[in-house]
């Protein structure tokens, strides 16, 4: 029960921090709204910045798929690290067997990395 309380209280602190993290921008923006003087409304102020020329087309166009590949790679390796963390903690008890097992797991993913490397996916043009 003691431990449960400790655990819950610790996350309560995290929650307090989260509330403050959201409140600060809200309060600051509200204060700014009250404090600032009235500015003149000029239509050209509300155009998008584009180095001084009239903005043309929408900025939201289809972009290079390369970013997508990096995102995919990230997912693979991030999941790998999620598996590696518990392994690292339990390593003391598991010993050399766990090391070999993890080595096999990582090598399989490394093959993926080498494949991507050879496919020139990692090359940024």
């Amino acid at each position: 029960m003691e431990l449960l309380n400790l655990y819950q209280n610790n996350y309560l602190i995290v929650f307090a921090f989260l509330c403050l993290g959201i409140l600060l921008p809200v309060v600051a923006l509200f204060a700014a709204k009250l404090l600032r003087p009235k500015y003149k409304d000029i239509a050209s102020k509300y155009t998008t910045y584009e180095s001084g020329i009239e903005p043309f087309h929408d900025a939201r166009v289809q972009f290079n798929v390369r970013y997508y590949v990096f995102a995919l790679m990230f997912v693979i390796f991030d999941v790998e690290t999620v598996f590696l963390y518990p392994w690292a903690i339990a390593y003391e008890k598991l010993g050399i067997f766990a090391l070999i097992e993890m080595l096999i797991f990582v090598v399989m993913l490394l093959i993926g990395l080498i494949y991507a490397w050879k496919k020139k996916v990692l090359k940024w043009i």
Binding site: F15, Y67, D78, W124
Partner: protein
């Protein structure tokens, strides 16, 4: 007193007290950010043979940042017509909130730590990743070409450097067998600072941390001379300030994390120096790490995007992986820990 509070059953009163403590700490952080910005400008000034801010608040320009904040507070609030309004408004909040939440788990001294989570390191990494959503939202909502490019670069960079960062942290977790940041510091009491045992992890971690912070050799996301200001080109006034604030709060958090992981947190470098309180040691180490960040800003040229991505995937990631297995092997064979 705080220990009793932590062991009592959670209630609204507890929450109120925690909230008040967190609020006090928020002001400490805001104070830090104020003077970190001033210190950065001063250090850059000295390194470039200039004087830096010296008009407001005496010779050292001690009130310069305060004046800047006041100016931002009364600035006109511009939201471009072409932008996606709700997203444009939410983005700075999403970018800032995790920056502050992350600080909750960092142990500053033996007694000054807010949330003693047993998943500390993983918590830090997981929460700090959320900021990129705010960045990407800002970039997309602005409907500006520079913003979108900057946002995409920021995302690709963040995503790529997250992996070496996590992998480098894994070496530490292997040595201590715990993700609790308190345990990590205490483990360094017997064995010496982890920078001695994990120099490779330190180098990888530091480089990746610089990239995560968008500090200078890796500041492509907001490269002023090619992308104007990157993802916050369209932001002004306090909305823009939130992005800057998030950046500096992350700098605070990351410097603290580096100290906790590699430089023994509040521990003195030698046993006989332990009469000096831990807070002083933490402060000193903190000053050194932040100074190095400023120093890098003054001395390194910006990287190219292609070099940046290839560096993360082809050099840092294999090195970090090799480091993990070397550490595991050494631990198994030599039984040092």
């Amino acid at each position: 007193m705080v220990q009793d509070l932590l062991h009592s059953s959670p209630s609204l009163l507890n929450f109120g007290i925690f909230f008040a403590m967190a609020l006090a700490f928020l002001f400490v952080i805001l104070g830090f950010v104020t003077y970190a910005i001033l210190a950065e400008r001063k250090v850059l000034g000295f390194m470039q043979g200039r004087i830096g801010p010296n008009h407001l608040g005496g010779r050292w320009g001690l009130l310069q940042t305060v004046a800047d904040v006041l100016k931002l507070l009364v600035k006109e609030d511009l939201i471009p017509k072409a932008s996606d309004r709700p997203m444009f408004i939410i983005a700075p909040v999403i970018a800032f909130a995790p920056a502050f939440v992350v600080v909750a788990t960092i142990p500053f001294t033996e007694n000054l730590q807010f949330a003693d989570l047993n998943v500390g390191l993983l918590y830090y990494i997981a929460i700090s990743g959320i900021t990129i959503i705010g960045t990407l939202m800002a970039a997309w909502a602005s409907n500006n070409k520079y913003s979108l490019l900057g946002g995409m670069r920021a995302t690709a960079q963040m995503v790529s450097y997250e992996i070496p960062l996590v992998m480098a942290g894994l070496g530490i977790v292997l040595l201590t067998g715990s993700m609790n940041l308190n345990d990590i510091v205490l483990a360094q009491q017997e064995s010496g600072w982890f920078i001695l045992w994990q120099p490779v992890a330190f180098v990888v971690f530091f480089i990746a941390a610089m990239a995560e912070l968008y500090r200078v050799p890796f500041d492509l996301a907001e490269a002023e001379n090619e992308l104007v200001a990157g993802f916050h080109t369209e932001y002004s006034g306090f909305r823009w300030a939130m992005f800057m604030l998030a950046e500096y709060v992350y700098m605070f958090a990351m410097s603290a994390l580096i100290i906790v992981l590699f430089f023994g947190g509040w521990l003195p470098p030698f046993e006989f120096l332990s009469f000096i309180p831990g807070a002083v040691w933490f402060g000193l180490k903190f000053a050194v790490v932040t100074y190095v960040l400023y120093w890098f800003r003054a001395t390194f040229p910006r990287m190219r995007p292609d070099q940046l991505m290839e560096f993360a995937w082809k050099i840092l990631l294999p090195v970090a992986l090799a480091n993990i297995f070397l550490t595991a092997l050494l631990k198994e064979l030599l039984n040092i820990f």
